[in-house]
Every structure is written in C-alpha cells, then in structure tokens.
Amino acid sequence: MSPPALAVHNLVKQFAGTAAVDNVSFSLAENEFFTLLGPSGCGKTTTLRCVAGLEQADAGEIRIREQVVFSGRDGVHVPTNHRPIGMVFQSYAVWPHMTVFENIAYPLRVRGRPRSRINDRVAQVLQILDMPGMASRMPSQLSGGQQQRVALGRALAMNPAVLLLDEPLSNLDAKLRESMRAELQLVQRTTGLPILYVTHDQVEAMALSDRIAVMSGGRVLQIAEPEAIYERPSNRFVLDFIGAVNYLPSVVLERSGERLCLRAEDGTPLTVQTGSALESGRELLMAVRPEDLRLEPEGTPCCLPGTVALRSFLGNALEFRVHCHKTSFRVQTEKERPFQVGDRVALRLHRGLFLAHDDKVVGIWHDLENNLVHG
C-alpha cells in the first residue's frame, strides 16, 4: 500500500480553552476525494486550516506525503507557504487587482518558474477549467461561478500534494452548484489530485466523495464510504445528519435464529430478520428512513395501523405523513400509491436500524417478506 497523501493524527486545536478540534485522525490516499462533513461550528474549517498551517494546532501530528508539517510533540510547524498545498476559500479570495492569468500564475511566479513554463501551465489550467479566452479578464468582470473556478485554478496550478477546499460551492446558486459539482469531479479525475473537502451539505458530500468523515463537536464520529455512512451509520447523530429518519420505540419479545419478534409501542407485533444478537425484553428504537416505509391497505398483517394525515407531491415522489398511535411517520413512496388524506392504512417497515438507549446503532434489520422474495 502506498503511503497516504495526507495523514492527520490526534489533532487538537483549542480556542480560549474549548476544543474546536478534538483528537481528530484521518488519512487520505492518493487520488482520494475525502470529505469532512458536519453541522456548522463542528470544527471542519479549523481542521482544514490546521492542515494548511493557517492555524497552529495545539497537539497531534500532520504529515503531507510522509513529510511532517506539524508535530505538537516535536514542536514542528512548517509555515503555510512551505507546505505543498493548494487551497480554495469559501469567499473565493480571488485577488481583485490581478487578472485571471495573474491570479492563476501567482503560485508559479512565487516559486520563480520560468515565464514560458508559467504560460504553458496557466493555459493548461484554463483548459481544465473550461475557461478559454478569459485570461486577461479582471475578477470584477467574472460571475461568481467563474471566480470560483479561478480560485480552483490557482490552487491547482502548482500541482499540490493535496488540494484543500472549504465549502467552495456554498456561495453559488443551486443550479450553478450542481454544474460546478460535476466540474469538480471531472477536474479531480483528470488531475488525480487528492482532495480534502469541507461541507455541511450531506447531498454534496454523498455525490462527490470517495470517503466521508462525519464530524460533530470537534470529533470525528465515523469515517466510511457514502453508501456505508447512509446505510450503516455508527450512531444516531450520523443517522440523523445524513437524512430524515422515523423512530419507533419497541421491545424485543423473543428471538429464534435470525428472526426477531418485537412489540411496537402501540402493541402491534412485528417480526424482522436481523443478524444481531439481542436478548428478549430489551427496549430499542427502530429507525426507518421515509423511503424504507411502504403503505399497504388497512389490515395487512405484520404492519402498523395508521391514518394518512398529510399528502404532498414532491415531483418525483409522494410524501405522506401517517399517524400511528403516538408516533408520526414520514413516508416516501412512488407516485402511483392511491391513498388520500384520512385513509386508514397499514405501514410496512421495510428495513432499518436498531438503536440502543445510548444512541449507538446495535443492529440492522429488514422485513421477512423482502427476504422471502429475494431469498
């Protein structure tokens, strides 16, 4: 296995006594698109700035291509301008007094590259960014999306060991964001640069990343591929942050083999299939995403009885709100489901997770019918 492009070990950064980054570790392989994902204030930017050297961490170690750029123990702190990085800021930070060419050429100029090589490289970068003929424009003559591309081009110009991007798309409107997202993926594929990406937008993170680190309160909660983060989150925070979830309190009645019989809070008996060993009598939360619920006609066995309270058209799907006993469920289905507000229905729980009282995920389950059909 080749050495990581970037390795962060037990990084700690405090502001006025409170830890903004609390013992964070992760590493990036060459070619990897790695995302720090989390809510506002969870320490993503601070982590990124520590990697860039814009903040000096308090403890831990940062290595870029095996070179130690920060070590709390050995007192190493390589200044930002000596780190082989490229960075794109949320606010673009395109220099308003320089042309597009001068902006992109700056990292090369600073390092004293010969003029002809600078010209070639800038032309190449403009090619990659699909911005031909804009070299002599001033930033004030560019749109927001174009300015963001210039910022990206400037970060790419030096072929850095790692590219750092701090919410680069959050200032763009929804449509432009989507096209820039595709552009970013393309750029990464053509350049093959490892990217450390920061965002609070889980859709963006899912779409772009090879792996995601979900952060909260300065800590990394889980590092995994997007599918794994979505389907097998390690705890309730990750589960909640990644998408909508319904919770159903229930108690384990008995277990036989892979089959688990439970009683939901309204008394309905449910049978699911699971690999986890859960003793009878244990109280659990069953967590189900809206798209993993099915609406069935009233009286269908092994389903929760309920009433449709709301029905809204989402364009590509229908969303229902169904009241069952004490709980209100969000349900997303295909469009042809013929239920209306006020209808009595039955909710089939297709698949989901078990959560313990400490919000840890203790198991995965799916319903029996699904198993029968596919098994």
Partner: protein, 570 residues
C-alpha cells in the same frame, strides 16, 4: 487570524521591532507634547499651582474670550446646521435638476481656507466692500446698516464655512436610509410632510448631531475668521486670545487656556455623544443604497432650484470673486474702473522673500507630512487590523486623540515640547516644528483611511497568498499594499490639503524663516497689505481646487469599485 509562526520565537522578532518603532513615534509626536501642556499648566516656578488658571478667570479679557468662543460657536453651529439640513434635504429628496453638480458645489467651502473666506467677505461687505459701496451708492446713505467686524460677522462666516459638514453627513444618511421605512408610513396613510417630521427626521437625527459636532469643533478651532473679523473690533475668542498671549509672550497663560480649550472640546463631544446616543437607539440606517422617496416640487421646482443657485452664488462664489477682484485692484476699495486694475500685487508677492519662503515651506511641509503619516499609520493599522498585535489598538487610540484637539492647543503643545526640549534637537525656530505639528494634527486622517481600507480587505485574500507559497513580505508587496493603495492615496491627498491650508497652529509656531503660505497671507492681511494677501491667496486657489477635485474623484472611483466588488462577490 494568526499568522503562521514557529514555536520558538525570539524576543525581538520583526513584528515587535515594528511595534516598538511605532510606539516611540506616537510617544514623541502625540503623547509627549500633550503631557507638556497638562503638566506645565499647573507649574509655576517649578511648583504645583493653580496660579495660571486664576489668571484666566481674574482677567475679564481672558474669561470673556472663553465665553465668546462658546456662544459664537454655538450660534454658528446652529446656523450651519440649518443651512446644511435644508440643502441636504433639497438635494437628496426633491426632484431638482443637476443634483451631482449641486453636491460638488455645496461642499466647495471645505476646499477653501477659512482665512480666504473671511478676507473675501471683508472685501464684499466690509466698510469699503463691493456690496457696501453698491448699497451706499444706491440708497445715497453714508454707511451700510451692517458691520462685518463683529460677532455677527464671525458667526455668519463661520456658519457658511462649516455647513458642508452637516450637508455631507445628512445627505449620506438620507442616501443610505431604507426607503421601506418611509413607504410603510405612507401605506399607513401619512402625508409627505408628516412622514418627514415623524419618520425621516428622527432617523437622520444621529447624522445631524454628527455633522453639527464637526461644525462646532471646527468653529471652536478656527483662527482665521475671528482673527480677521474680530481682532480689529477688540472682540476676542480663545484662539485669538492665545495668539495674543503668545505674542507678548505669556506662555503659562496660553497653556492654561489651552487646557480649558481641551475641556470644552471634550465636554462638547460628550454632550453630542449623549444626544446622538438618545436618538440613535434604533439602528435603521443600513449600508445598502436604495431608491429614496423623492418629493415632487411641481411648480415650486423652478424657484427652489433658483434659490439653491442663489445660495451657492452668495456663500461660495461671491467671496471668492471679491478676493480675485481685490487682488487686481490698485488699492482696496478703489473704484471699479479699468485704470484701477493692476498686476503689481502679484509682482510684489513674487518678489517678496517672505512669500517665496512661504511657498517653498508649504510645498515641502504638506507632502512631507502626508507621506510620513501615511507610512506610519499604514503600519499601525496593519499591526492593529491584520496582525492583531496586542497594543497596536492602543497606538491607534492615542493617534486619534489630536483630531479632537483645537489647533491652538497643538500649537502651544509644540512650543512647550520643542523650544527647550527634554531630549532631541530644538525644533522651535525651524520649519520642522511645523512638520511635527502637522504630523500630530492629522495623524487621525491617516489612521482612519488605512484602518477602513484594511478592514475591507478580507483575511482570506492574504491567506490565499500564503497557501500559494508566498511568504509574509511577498504577500505584503503583492497583495496587501496594492489593495491598500486607494486608501493610502485618499489619505495622502486629505492630509496634503489640510496641511497646506493649515493656519491655526502655524500662526502660533512660525518664526522668521519658517513662514507658510497661510501665515504670510495672514500677516499681510493683518498689516494692511490686502492686495498682496489676496494675490497670493488667488495664486493658491487653483492648487486647492485641483486637489479638492482630485480627492472627490478618488472618492467616486472608490465607491464605484466597491459597488463592482459587492456585485461580483455575494
């Protein structure tokens, strides 16, 4: 945001070295002279005493001057505020034509030294002034029913010189005011005048107080106008009384009066702050420019426009016209006939050694003060805003203080500090004492313009340079300085104009050989060579007007750039 730094830092790194250098500069230029004033006013023959203050309050001549300064300035400020508000509302909120031209013309008095204005008014409505002659000729009376050499004259000329402060702040507030506030009043059924009284006026009140404070401080500070219009009538205010005390010279008295002047300045500032605080509880003037409500004058549009033109003609153009005319007249008060026109005053000026020295000195002092101040204040603001160096904020605060001090105080402080200095060379008697005085007086201009510009330069612009591989100095050269340049230029021009026009301080600390243009003009005027004084003033006017237009143009350019920037970065 902290700069990249290594763990082991030497005690004297380059940042601390810069800081210490700047601290010493502020200590010498600002703190030391001020301490001199404060301490010496209580010193009599080496011991603590209130004798100097007793002298102020025992002699009617002295406490009358204090009292005169106060009431003259209050009345002048009132009049200036009325003129400033009326013109601001008319230009910003009615549908009169040529608004941009009016905006430029209405602030023109700021470009003209008050001394010139006072001279112009004397030549206009003085005993043998143009208008006076016209009046007496027309009505066949021996004298006109007015006397410019009086308190009324001083108040009037102070007001027409200082109303632009109110005009500028009030128009600014009117421009930035969120028009939805007025619109919501309109939708609740209020009429135009009601909206003005109940909504608009209260909202711009802080701006009115702000402008009025500037006008008041500027009136208290002024020397040229009460000197030309008051001294002849034995009517003294503090600035002219201090001038007189120094010609005797009675240094301790001047010092004590300076402290009183400081107190007046501080108290007035506190009073205005309080008034402003009471009225500014609701922050309503946003930063956005929005289309304001415009009052359609209808048939009143013509008369209002004419009135505004007449006002500008009378208070801006006419005195300048009189000044120019006098400079070409054989003697002041001569009949306006072809034979009485002459160039001899100009010849006299250009041959006079004193005038030539004045021109050279002013041409050295103004750019020197502007250049030194912009360099020093840029460094202070950089340490303060970007490096967030602890202590740099204190330097900034100290540097702003002299802005609030009347010029007479700075003049007295300079004499105390540099005629028998505790350390360093005796600057008194050279032109360098004027330089140090200008550095002290205008430091605030440099600090304010560099601070404002640096605050607008987002930190990420510099950080982007570091992540591009540029070191600290390289970033400063390639990114920070170019972005700071507009602020530097604007501050430079402002300091240049102010130093070039300076009189209040200069007239106290000049010595033979270190005259400035303003001092020489004042001396000529004071000793009756009105023609020569006017001639040199007329020679200076183009320089001042050009610089003033340049400054306005730079301001426009900056505004334009800002609007472009805000358009391109959400």
């Amino acid at each position: 945001m902290s700069y990249p730094s290594r763990n082991a830092r030497p005690w004297l790194d380059h940042r601390r070295a810069f800081f210490l250098f700047l601290a010493v500069f502020i200590l010498i230029v600002v703190v030391y002279p001020l301490l001199q004033v404060g301490v010496r006013s209580f010193l009599v023959e080496g011991g603590f005493s209130l004798q100097n203050y007793r002298q102020v309050f025992l002699q009617p001549r002295n406490y009358l001057a204090l009292w005169n300064s106060l009431w003259i300035s209050v009345l002048a400020t009132l009049l200036a505020t009325i003129i400033g508000m009326l013109t601001a509302f008319t230009v910003q909120r009615t549908d009169i034509p040529w608004k941009n031209t009016f905006r430029v013309l209405l602030v023109l008095p700021l470009a003209i030294p008050p001394l010139f204005s006072a001279m112009g008014w004397v030549q206009l409505v003085g005993p043998v002034g143009l208008l006076t002659q016209a009046y007496t000729g027309l009505f066949g009376v021996p004298t006109a029913p007015w006397n410019i050499y009086s308190a009324t004259g001083i108040i009037f000329v102070l007001a027409v010189n200082n109303y632009p402060f109110v005009f500028i702040t009030v128009s600014g507030a009117l421009q930035r005011m969120d028009s939805s506030l007025e619109e919501s009043a309109r939708t609740s059924g209020a009429g135009t005048w009601r909206i003005m009284r109940n909504i608009t006026l209260p909202l711009v009140r802080p701006a009115i107080y702000g402008g009025a404070l500037l006008a008041f401080v500027s009136s208290i500070d002024n020397f040229g106008i009460p000197a030309v219009l008051g001294m002849r009538a034995q009517f003294y205010v503090l600035t002219t009384r201090i001038y007189e005390a120094l010609t005797i010279p009675n240094m301790p008295l001047a010092t004590a009066m300076s402290v009183l002047l400081i107190l007046i300045a501080l108290l007035s500032m506190l009073a205005f702050r309080r008034a402003e605080g009471h009225s500014g509880q609701y922050a309503v003037v946003g930063g956005k420019s929005v289309t304001p409500n415009i009052i359609c004058l209808g048939r009143g549009r013509g008369p209002v426009t004419l009135g505004l033109l007449a006002l500008i003609g009378i208070i801006v153009i006419l005195p300048l016209f009189a000044l120019v005319l006098t400079s070409f007249l054989r003697f002041w008060g001569a009949d306006l006939i072809w034979d009485n026109l002459t160039l001899r005053h100009y010849e006299a000026v250009l041959q006079s050694a004193g005038a030539r020295r004045g021109i050279v000195n002013s041409m050295i002092l103004a750019p020197a003060a502007a250049t030194i101040l912009m360099m020093v204040t840029a460094m202070i603001s950089y340490l303060h805003i970007k490096v967030r160096y602890r202590g740099a904020g204190v330097l900034d605060g100290l540097g702003i203080i002299p802005f609030a001090l009347p010029g007479s105080v700075i003049g007295v402080a300079m004499i105390l500090a540099w005629s028998n200095p505790l350390f360093g060379p005796t600057l008194y008697g050279t032109i360098w004492i004027l330089l140090v005085a200008y550095l002290m007086r205008y430091m605030a201009f440099g600090l304010q313009s560099t601070r404002a510009t640096l605050q607008q330069i987002h930190n990420s612009l510099e950080e982007a340079a570091w992540t591009s591989g540029a070191g600290g100095l390289r970033t400063l050269k390639d990114i920070t300085l170019p972005l700071l340049r507009p602020g530097l230029v604007a501050g430079w021009v402002l300091i240049f104009i102010s130093s070039f026009n300076e009189l209040t301080v200069s007239v106290l600390i000049w010595t033979s050989g270190s005259e400035t243009i303003g001092v020489w003009i004042f001396l000529m005027q004071d000793s009756g060579f009105i023609g020569r004084a006017s001639a040199l003033a007329v020679l200076c006017l183009p320089v001042m007007l050009i610089l003033y237009v340049l400054m306005q143009w730079l301001g426009r350019l900056e505004e334009h750039k800002m609007s472009q920037k805000s358009r391109s970065t959400p």
